[in-house]
């Protein structure tokens, strides 16, 4: 029988630094909740808003798979591998920090804020060579269907990471349903509602709610209103 866990939007950790307003689904920085440490290999789900002209100065990472998805506005990324890129609304970037990397993330726009999701997944292999991958997604590919945006396979749709994980986006009209089949035995899925209301099996979810489901082969997701959502399938590591 499926196991589930519900994380209502308002139960997330919150930090407002002025230039950065961040909601943490799992323990992060000064937000520590021993009951909210991770969902399987999904360790960080931060819902960030960065003011115009502001950002995260150069800082290090290692041994995490870091995925950035702008929801509004663009983010400039620079890293110690000499990559400079703008991650635009509609793009997804995956960075394998591996043995260690420095990077910065800035909102270069002088007038508008940027809203983005920063998602960290434990890698299935430590100390890999750092690398990054970025693509532009076709919005139509998620209209009333599930669009794969991340997988473990460099040859598959979306970006790839060092983990047996699959991410999908959906932008469904009211009343549209889809069935999601878990791709790997032992994996669970964390559903994050970006906008609107969805129902996962019998569970109603609102904007920015999180819902984990595991010990099941599949589930049904139905848009109760026009809705956008992110499905993150990850190994249910302890």
């Amino acid at each position: 029988m499926a196991q589930t866990i519900l994380h209502k939007a308002e139960t997330r950790g919150h930090a407002n630094h002025g230039w950065l307003n961040s909601y943490h689904s799992f323990s992060f920085a000064n937000y520590y909740n021993p009951d909210r440490m991770h969902f399987g290999a999904l360790r960080v789900l931060n819902d960030d808003t960065v003011d115009a002209g502001k950002g995260f100065g150069t800082h290090p990472h290692d041994n995490m798979e870091i995925i950035s998805i702008p929801l509004e506005g663009d983010l400039e990324h620079k890293d110690s591998m000499n990559n400079v890129a703008v991650i635009k609304n509609g793009d997804i970037q995956a960075m394998s920090a591996g043995t260690g990397i420095y990077h910065s993330e800035y909102n270069k726009d002088r007038e508008h804020r940027v809203k983005f999701l920063q998602i960290w997944v434990y890698p299935d292999k430590k100390n890999v060579e750092p690398r990054y991958d970025q693509i532009t997604l076709n919005l139509e590919d998620r209209h009333n269907k599930l669009q794969q945006i991340l997988s473990p396979n460099p040859d598959d749709e979306g970006v790839w990471i060092h983990q047996n994980a699959w991410f999908h986006l959906g932008k469904f009209d009211k009343g549209v349903s889809a069935e999601y089949d878990i791709k790997a035995k032992g994996n669970g899925v964390y559903v994050f509602v970006l906008t609107g209301e969805v129902r996962v099996n019998d569970q109603l979810l609102n904007t920015r709610d999180g819902y984990g489901i595991w010990d099941t082969d599949k589930f049904t997701i139905t848009a109760e209103t026009d809705a956008e959502f992110l499905l993150m399938e990850v190994p249910m590591i302890q």
Binding site: P34, H59, D62, N63, A97, T99, Y122
Partner: protein, 102 residues
């Protein structure tokens, strides 16, 4: 009240310095950094550590050796993998290691 002594082992010098600095920002913790196995073992012999954080770049053979030596000397020492490189995961990792089941 004495601080909790934490040994950080990491091959990436910049990340090692960052992690040590972040830990030392907490008034209840004190970090010592080591980039090599020799430095780590010497530090562990010189001071009583409650927690050891294993950072990036440590080869599996080194990790096995370090774990064996440390546990032989102090079976109560807590040894955990540090993920993230001095990022927002550090404090929660330490709290969980110090307060959770081992």
């Amino acid at each position: 009240m004495s601080k909790t002594e934490i040994l950080v082992i990491c091959r990436h010098q910049g990340i090692l310095e960052t992690v040590v600095r972040l830990i030392n920002n907490n008034p209840d913790w004190h970090a010592t950094g080591a980039a090599t196995d020799e430095e780590a073992i010497a530090a562990f012999m010189a001071l009583s550590f409650t927690l050891v954080l294993l950072g990036s770049g440590i080869e599996q053979e080194s990790e096995n050796k370090i774990r064996a030596e440390f546990v032989a000397r102090d079976p109560s020492v807590i040894i955990v993998q540090h993920y993230g490189g001095g990022s927002g995961l550090l404090a929660a990792e330490i709290y969980q290691a110090l307060n959770g089941p081992h």
